[in-house]
Symmetry: C2
Subunit: 592 residues, 2 copies
């Protein structure tokens, strides 16, 4: 049975020593001192470790079941949700006007990482509610907000997002669900939505569906899509629950993983719905929600890698097999622990350096989100918008890879469900797919974000990388191990961007053929920058005479691994990118 | 429901135009003309497509069940096994003296690829029998051979391999299973073995377990291990089945995939066993079997990638989503098929070029195995021995990656079990683990094989690569696209080998830290060589005026993708390798 140790010290290191949140001018950040964040993270960590972790295997094994239209969640989920609700964790980042605690996103992301490491399936019930809350909060009328948000903040009512239809995934223009005006300001929603996470379950009094549908007579394609609230139970004027609405769960999907979350086919049959925002402007409203959601999914990739790594590490320390080639390490035992073997160590370092670098990347992104939201910092918002597909795509691709590497360390025991290593792989796999498959993230990055606002945001990224290198080049302890590799990697990224700029106007495929490679190239440079910043923080702490020397030395050694062995991938990505469209598109579609 | 199209033309291209098996001097190869291989492959392909493919989902969904010591295989497996047996497919490569057909391994591997693509779990019942047959055939006494082999050739009796114990995986020296001499030449075998594939099932009259155990009083560690035959039912003098032996299946493991194969905990309680080969020389006997078995597992990685690719390709042709950025391709439809999108195309090319390159690599390896076995060609044997960990490790690592890429092309539909994409991923995953986890393959490659016989075999590999390049450098059509990239990649491999040679004597960890990287580097160079040879064959066919121009043009375009976009990974692997031991081992085990 897997265990989980909340990475409190690592989270605090990033928050306080790398990002220095407490010194930030972003409104609300002045509250984020070490005492405050320490208390919050410790409490959240306990829930993750003690309440949610033991339910992760249960969720995987039991799954959800559909009986007469009712979805039963796995044993213990409801009780755990009550604990999470009672602790006020569901409204951590929500608007105090509706009962939330108004905490910055960077703190919420830190908490969420732990909850997701402990139990991804479970956390999705709350995560989707937060997303739906966000869309209503930003685009809904005051009346809708007053009616729905307070109960969603507490998760007494949970939320969903309904986009996909059987024939319509990424290409939302193909949508068929209809919304007929009823004449009284409400709409009748009819259609079928699929892959609706938490679409139906037994853990909340009401479920608030956010549904994209087309109002007849509107424009074709995505321009004719509107966003609606469709509650499972109609809410009466006094806030009590009234009739069952015309929406039912038609089926539960059998999935590779996240068995503890109910993935529903939702059938809408003239269900009563309320317009959120303006008619035909539904996509814009949905996109608001998506940026946060994509960050959240990137976080899932990281969180699953983190817990998978922890458990694999434990296994390599306990499992005795073979002897250290340089000399026996465990003379009293029949063999040495797996961790002595160089290829095992390589795998552990790869996982550890990714997890810690990725954590810093996510939390940096969270500070940008806060700066945009709370301080109206358009530059921060623009940079985050550029990096969102990287956070989502790179961290989930790599996060999945890391769960596979973690599983590998168990040998045959990793393939057996008993150890839980397989579940991390199977659960992490979804993060590469939902909220826009990673190929779509790459397309968004290269086809849209890279050149947006005249390329301003990518230039800003290059600038801050250059500035960091320049400001610290005097530190000989950092130069060879951190700054030089970062400089080389950033140069590869610039060369790739230049290639796109010169080739794309002639042939868009020349850029798009390298889009996934660029997403990974960018991801590596971003993690390289994070490691350089973490190394600087660690070096500063050591210089200042910090007592926990081992902690900072470990950070430096972990960062050196990333810079020496992971970051050089940028050159490969650049080579692939500059090979252009021909190798990729040279074979006609019908010739495959 | 997934489908499967046997890759007959691709197999024949490799056999006849690339490897030119019919012209080989290896005994038995003179029979392998196009007519003969064509007939065999077509028949095997039909069984794969029509009999085994439909059972793949059944096997995954139903799995195996244990009831009162009896393991029930999934619906239809037994009937399908009868078809395979009746067709004589189980004895294709076996010695005619025991009822086999004595066909070269290269033909058997071609057949097996298709059977494994269709249904990995199913094929394992036969594959393990072949492995056990091999060990008995090579090391058993005439009496044992006469008693057991004829029924194993026909798979009336199936076989197993019993190595692993709960505390003892790769490190066989830790083995506890005991074999006490009974005084009559037989032994009493006692102990517990785990992860025993096909350990118990209802598809054969008898199960012949090959079991490693220690005879009390023998040397410690691996030098005290002996190999025994332990039949499920004792075989009477007249060949009829007698008493049930003291071996039972104690449990079935719940696994990530290959649900259709029974993975058993086997409990031996004074079971009657017969020594195979000499006392304490069991490991050597087991290793004989392992080389073939590792080739077979490499083939599994490739085979799963192949079928996953085929199905993903079909999906990308049918699924309409979005529009080609260079112009609408399907004006009468609501959207263009997925295959128009560059990142989709990139993924398909990556899969296709791996599968076709990997197939050539495996079949080349098979010709070396035949040359060693049938023509006593020690050089061929040595080269194959060097490449065996690469075939196993590289093809299964990459094979798994490709199934993940295939699954990704389905978007959300790939995560749902219904499409079968998830099963290919889950099934392919085991190939990276069993028959020596890939980290162990890398260790075998760098720690043992690379320097064996004074490095003779790796020099032979370099030589044949150089010779091929030299002989064809005049062909301008090949030079820039194939020969130059191959030369650069081979140079990276040489540099890596040089690094190991100079550093390993000072610090073995400097080599072992780069062992997985070297395995991948080698794999890419090998596939680069295969693609160069395939390109040459395609070019020759075009020059000779072959009628199927499209087939050869497609080969060339696919190869160009591999050379331009996959092969450059060698430089990254070299960079990682030459970063040495420090980044990997710099963090002490207790500091993680």
């Amino acid at each position: 049975m897997p265990t989980y140790t909340p990475p409190l010290k690592d989270l605090e290191f990033v928050l306080h020593e790398v990002l220095q949140v407490h010194e930030s001018a972003t409104p609300g950040y002045n509250e984020l001192d070490r005492d405050f964040t320490g208390a919050i993270l410790e409490e959240a960590g306990k829930i993750a470790r003690d309440v949610l972790t033991p339910l992760n295997t249960v969720g995987d094994t039991e799954g959800c079941t559909l009986e007469n239209g009712v979805v039963h969640t796995p044993t213990g989920f409801k009780e755990a949700f009550d604990i999470v609700r009672d602790g006020g964790w569901t409204g951590l980042g929500a608007d105090p006007e509706f009962g939330g605690q108004g905490m910055p996103y960077v703190l919420g992301a830190s908490v969420t990482e732990m909850l997701v490491s402990a139990n991804l399936s479970f956390n999705m019930y709350q995560g989707l509610t937060n997303g739906a809350y966000e869309a209503i909060h930003t685009h809904g009328s005051d009346e809708l907000k007053a009616t729905f948000l307070p109960k969603m903040v507490t998760c007494e009512w949970t939320g969903t997002m309904n986009l996909t239809e059987p024939h319509c995934g990424t290409d939302l223009g193909l949508m068929r669900s209809k919304a007929e005006p009823s004449g009284d300001g409400t709409y009748k929603i009819t259609g079928q939505k699929i892959f609706i996470s938490a679409g139906e379950h037994d853990m909340a009094d009401n479920i608030i569906h956010l549904v994209l549908a087309k109002i007849p007579g509107g424009p074709d394609g995505v321009k004719g899509i509107s966003l609606f609230i469709v509650p499972k139970f109609i809410v009466n004027e006094d806030g009590s629950l009234g009739n069952r609405n015309g929406v039912v769960c038609g089926n539960l999907e059998k999935k590779m993983g996240i068995h503890g979350n109910s993935t529903c086919v939702m059938n809408y049959d003239e269900a009563e719905g309320y317009l959120v925002g303006e008619e035909h402007k539904g996509l814009r409203a949905m996109f608001t929600m998506m940026n946060g959601a994509r960050l959240g999914v990137g976080l899932q990739g990281l969180a699953q890698a983190s817990v998978a790594y922890q458990n694999a590490l434990g296994y390599t320390r306990e499992r005795l097999q073979g002897r250290d080639v340089t000399g026996i390490q465990n003379p009293d035992g029949p063999a040495d622990p797996l961790i002595v073997h160089p290829d095992v160590r390589r795998s552990l370092m790869e996982q550890k350096s990714f997890v810690e670098g990725g954590r810093a990347f996510i939390l940096w992104g969270a500070t940008l989100l806060d700066a945009g939201d709370l301080a109206d910092d358009a530059d921060a918002e623009g940079l985050l918008s550029l990096m969102t597909p990287v956070i989502k795509g790179f961290l989930t691709d790599k996060g999945f890879d890391m769960t596979v590497q973690a599983q590998q360390l168990y040998g045959g025991h990793g393939y057996i469900e008993e150890t839980g290593a397989s579940q991390f792989v199977r659960d992490a796999r979804i993060a590469m797919i939902y909220e826009g498959a990673n190929g779509v993230q790459a397309l968004d990055l290269v086809g849209r974000k890279l050149a947006s606002d005249g390329g301003k945001h990518v230039l800003a990224f290059f600038d801050l990388t250059k500035t960091f290198i320049k400001e610290n080049e005097g530190e000989t302890s950092l130069k060879a191990d951190f700054l030089d590799p970062l400089k080389a990697a950033a140069k590869d990224m610039q060369a790739a961007a230049m290639y796109f700029m010169s080739e794309a106007p002639k042939n868009p495929n020349a850029a798009l053929a390298g889009s996934s490679d660029f997403m990974h190239l960018f991801g590596h440079v971003a993690l390289g920058l994070m490691w350089a910043r973490m190394a600087k923080a660690a070096q500063d702490a050591l210089t200042a005479g910090a007592s926990d020397v081992a902690f900072y030395e470990t950070k430096l050694a972990t960062g050196r691994y990333y810079m020496a062995r992971s970051l050089p991938e940028t050159a490969l990505r650049l080579a692939r990118i500059t090979s252009g469209a021909e190798p990729v598109m040279g074979l006609a579609a019908e010739a495959f």
